[in-house]
């Protein structure tokens, strides 16, 4: 033990506080004795001089290495390290419809690891605020064109056999503020209207087996029980394929922000369709024309016609390392660095991702990394030798349905710039000679 021991008064106080939380007298006695002996040791040990070139983080003893940590009785629901307090959702007044109860908070995808978003960081879009529903008073009603309309309590719903699936949820307006050009020098704000989780719930087709769905039923209305009473119309084909009612999110109950106690999950389709606080499913032969599928979430094209029921999220990708929040300013020439990012498709499984260093003129194939699942975030990776040159770094994903991301030019030719939703053109970062990263668009 040649390290410098800096046992401060604070640390001693912490140890005593730890002891006081225990009701067991013998534990108190042992802890107190231990603290005293640690203090005594500190005064005896001779400090090692820090030489030039030595890292003080190694030479100097740290308080967390010389005093007790928290007891297991603290934080019975754990929280992240206090040092991670900047890894949070963020908001902008520009993305609100007047107030924070009709708004969105953006996921910090620049800090995301792997393909799962922690529940506390999942992006949150609400139309009437986050409802806090008593699960004992919540019901799911299934009616309309079924022989047997039913009502389920939450306990009854969870009795159905469950499936667990990893899927992203993305707001179709993700990237939408940038149809007419880049606006945010930030990955969180340019692409953060999405997150991913492992969801647990029941296939709706499993429930319908016993309800006698009538053949003329072509559409299903899904409605939320929160103050927005938001409804959306879903074609029966999706309902009978992979639509789910979910109650589990990453191994625990849904968060209130995600629709506790239950929400609809339509894998790969617009986040807005995945109705939160779900209370009602009604089957009908005609579509319902809810406000959020007519006034909003319709895609206006240059000929003045708008696409309605444009539901799947097309193949898409973005480089997350580097990005404006995570630049290469600390790299030295010759450093080998991993370029990595996220690719996803709501119409299938990611088949591959290409990378360009010159804004999309020439491309090389990247490697996929980790789990490759349908309608899921998929990681890609490319090893690059950093040379301190300016770059235009782009990624281009393709899926097993045969779709590939269009250039900005090609997408604008078809969709114009007034679509608001469903922008999946190739995204580009400008990397400067200093390693700074800026959001740009290539129009070639």
């Amino acid at each position: 033990m040649n390290k410098i021991t800096n046992l401060s008064k604070n640390d001693l106080a912490n140890a005593q506080e730890t002891a006081e939380q225990s009701s067991r007298r013998d534990f108190f006695r042992k802890t107190a004795a231990y603290s005293v002996s640690a203090l005594a040791a500190a005064s005896i040990l001779s400090p090692v001089k820090v030489n030039a070139g030595d890292d003080p983080a190694i030479i100097e003893e740290q308080p967390w290495a010389t005093s007790l940590g928290d007891p297991v009785t603290k934080n019975q629901y754990g929280v992240p390290s206090a040092y991670e307090h900047n890894n949070i959702r963020r908001t902008s007044e520009l993305l609100s419809s007047g107030n924070w109860q009709a708004s969105i908070s953006m996921c910090p995808i620049h800090e995301s690891e792997g393909i799962i978003t922690p529940n506390g960081l999942f992006f949150n879009r609400v139309h009437g605020g986050v409802a806090h529903i008593d699960p004992n008073k919540h019901r799911l009603m299934i009616h309309g064109l079924v022989e047997k309309p039913i009502v389920l309590t939450m306990e009854q719903l969870k009795r159905y056999p469950s499936v667990t699936r990893i899927h992203f949820i993305e707001c179709p307006a993700n990237g939408g503020p940038e149809w007419r050009g880049p606006q945010f020098n930030s990955l969180q704000f340019s692409k953060g209207m999405m997150s991913s989780a492992q969801w647990t719930g029941v296939y709706i087709k499993t429930i319908l087996k016993d309800l006698g769905l009538k053949p003329e039923a072509l559409w299903m209305l899904a409605e939320g029980g929160d103050s927005s009473h938001m409804g959306r119309t879903v074609p029966i084909d999706k309902v009978l394929d992979d639509a789910m009612i979910v109650w589990g999110q990453n191994g625990e109950a849904l968060r209130p922000e995600q629709g506790y106690p239950i929400r609809l999950l339509l894998p790969g389709w617009e986040g807005n369709l995945c109705v939160k606080w779900l209370c009602r499913l009604e089957f009908a032969s005609e579509p319902f024309y809810a406000k959020e599928e007519t006034a909003k979430y319709t895609v206006l094209k240059p000929d003045g016609k708008a696409i309605q029921h444009f539901y799947p999220l097309e193949v898409n990708s973005v480089i997350t390392n580097p990005c404006p929040e995570k630049p290469w300013t600390d790299l030295k020439k010759g450093d080998l660095v991993e370029i990595s990012g996220l690719a996803w498709s709501g119409q299938g499984t990611i088949e591959g991702v290409d990378i360009s260093f010159d804004g999309g003129k020439n491309w090389v194939e990247a490697s996929l990394e980790g789990l490759v699942l349908p309608k899921s975030w998929t990681r890609f990776s490319y090893m690059y030798k950093y040379e301190g040159k300016s770059l235009l770094l782009s990624s281009r994903a393709r899926d097993d349905a045969g779709f590939i991301q269009p250039s900005v030019k090609v997408e604008r030719e078809v969709m114009g710039v007034e679509s608001v939703y469903h922008r999946n053109a190739i995204a580009t970062w400008e990397v400067t000679e200093k390693g700074e990263v800026n959001n740009v668009q290539v129009l070639s």
């Binding site: 206090a82 991670e84 307090h85 963020r90 902008s92 007044e93 007047g98 924070w100 139309h127 009603m141 039913i150 009502v151 389920l152 309590t153 719903l157 499936v163 699936r165 880049p182 087996k209 927005s228 009473h229 074609p235 084909d237 999706k238 992979d242 009604e282 005609e286 579509p287 809810a290 406000k291 006034a295 206006l300 003045g304 708008a306 696409i307 309605q308 029921h309 444009f310 539901y311 498709s345 119409q347 003129k361 020439n362 491309w363 349908p374 235009l392 349905a401 045969g402 779709f403 590939i404 900005v408 078809v414 114009g416 710039v417 007034e418 190739i426 740009v440 668009q441 129009l443 070639s444």
Partner: protein, 378 residues
């Protein structure tokens, strides 16, 4: 380039070939049609259950066979209570009536604070009308590809395909802070007002102040942009039309997998013109301990209720309510005396519903919240 789909069915051939490729084949079972032979509705693919797996996921096929009797039968009364949607053919639209003039009065009392005079919008709250609806439809072809050009007008009159959406949305979603608080007659009156500010007609008749809208007249409304949407989702072919539209990526754009010299010359770049930096909190990736304000007192009950139930209207004066921290506004309110302020908070005043729309609050909680707001506005 949109690829042909023949490769999707290679897997079943490999199953016959056996050995190690069988395992791979089972994992990659993917199809562009459902079991019923129809093309996948979103233009993408589906993953049929093969050898108790769907894509990479194992599945217990026994669970899919049904035989469950959970829950109870929904009663007619329960369905009636919850079936709040209104469809274009009038399903769900109740009887009732209201005039433009009555709608105007309701609008001034309950809507103008957010939606502005005559539906002009305020702040970031949406506008409800912008001139004559019929004429506005032409703007839907506008594209803001150059600076200072006008964009498309997407308000109720110029854009929405169905009037039923309006009735349904006002009834179940408005006023934003107190949904489900309007009577059916009030919704008819507000609908009549909406039609009048959008300069719309019913059966060729303009909606003057005395015009009374009822269910029969409502069902005759023709939305100017009814045919402005693709694909056609109505009728028995509705979902098939959606299937056809989504199966053709030319309708929404698809790329090509070019690898070399994909365009001529240097790339044309668009850079950020006016950077938006209004982020809350500001961007940071620093790993350090948060700065704690040791002087901050724990939030009182009044403060908590304010955040949960009152801030939506009182955070700013945008909704016509006295804003938190606005000394003058609160001095004016207090001229009536504190008891009258309590009474209004509990019973409602102007656009403010009783107890701010949160009926679960006790009178004492309301008073504590009023005290908090006054204290913060001195």
């Amino acid at each position: 380039m949109f690829k042909s789909y023949h490769k999707l069915f290679i897997s079943s051939v490999l199953v016959v070939a056996g050995t190690s490729s069988t395992i791979f084949a089972a994992q990659s079972s993917v199809s562009n049609t459902y079991d019923n032979g129809k093309r996948v509705i979103d233009g993408g693919v589906t993953y049929p259950v093969t050898n108790s797996k769907t894509a990479s996921y194992h599945i217990n096929e026994e669970t899919l066979k049904g035989g469950y009797a959970y829950g109870k039968k929904a009663t007619e009364n329960e369905i009636k209570a919850w079936d709040i949607d209104v469809m274009p053919d009038g399903t769900g639209l109740p009887e009732g009536k209201g005039t433009v003039e009555e709608g105007d009065e309701l609008y001034e009392a309950k809507c103008v604070s957010c939606h502005g005079d005559f539906g002009s919008g305020s702040g970031s709250y949406p506008a409800l009308a912008k001139g004559n609806a019929e004429e506005g439809v032409a703007t839907l072809k506008n594209q803001r590809t150059k600076p200072d050009t006008d964009g498309p007008i997407r308000v109720f009159g110029t854009y929405w395909p169905q009037a039923s959406t309006l009735w349904w949305y006002i009834k179940t979603g408005m006023p934003h802070a107190a949904p489900m608080s309007l009577t059916d007659d009030e919704v008819y009156a507000l609908s009549a007002y909406m039609l009048s500010i959008n300069e719309m007609t019913i059966d060729g008749e303009e909606l003057d102040d005395e015009y009374e809208l009822d269910r029969e007249k409502f069902l005759k409304i023709k939305m100017p942009n009814k045919d402005g949407f693709v694909p056609n989702i109505d009728g028995p072919k509705g979902t098939d039309n959606m299937r056809d539209y989504m199966s053709n990526p030319k309708n929404y754009g698809n790329g090509t997998r070019c690898m070399k010299n994909c365009f001529e010359g240097e790339p044309i770049l668009a850079k950020i013109q006016t950077e938006i930096k209004e982020f809350s909190p500001p961007l940071s990736t620093v790993r350090e301990l948060p700065k704690v304000d040791a002087s901050a007192a724990p939030a009182s009950e009044g403060a908590k209720i304010y955040e949960a139930s009152c801030a939506v209207c009182h955070a700013t004066d945008a909704m016509g309510a006295p804003a938190m921290g606005d000394k003058k506004a609160w001095e004016a309110v207090l001229k009536k005396g504190i008891d009258s302020v309590y009474k209004n908070a509990i019973g409602g005043i102007n656009a403010m519903p009783p107890k701010g729309g949160n009926a679960n609050l006790t009178d004492d909680q309301l008073k504590a919240t009023v005290d908090f707001m006054i204290d913060q506005s001195k």
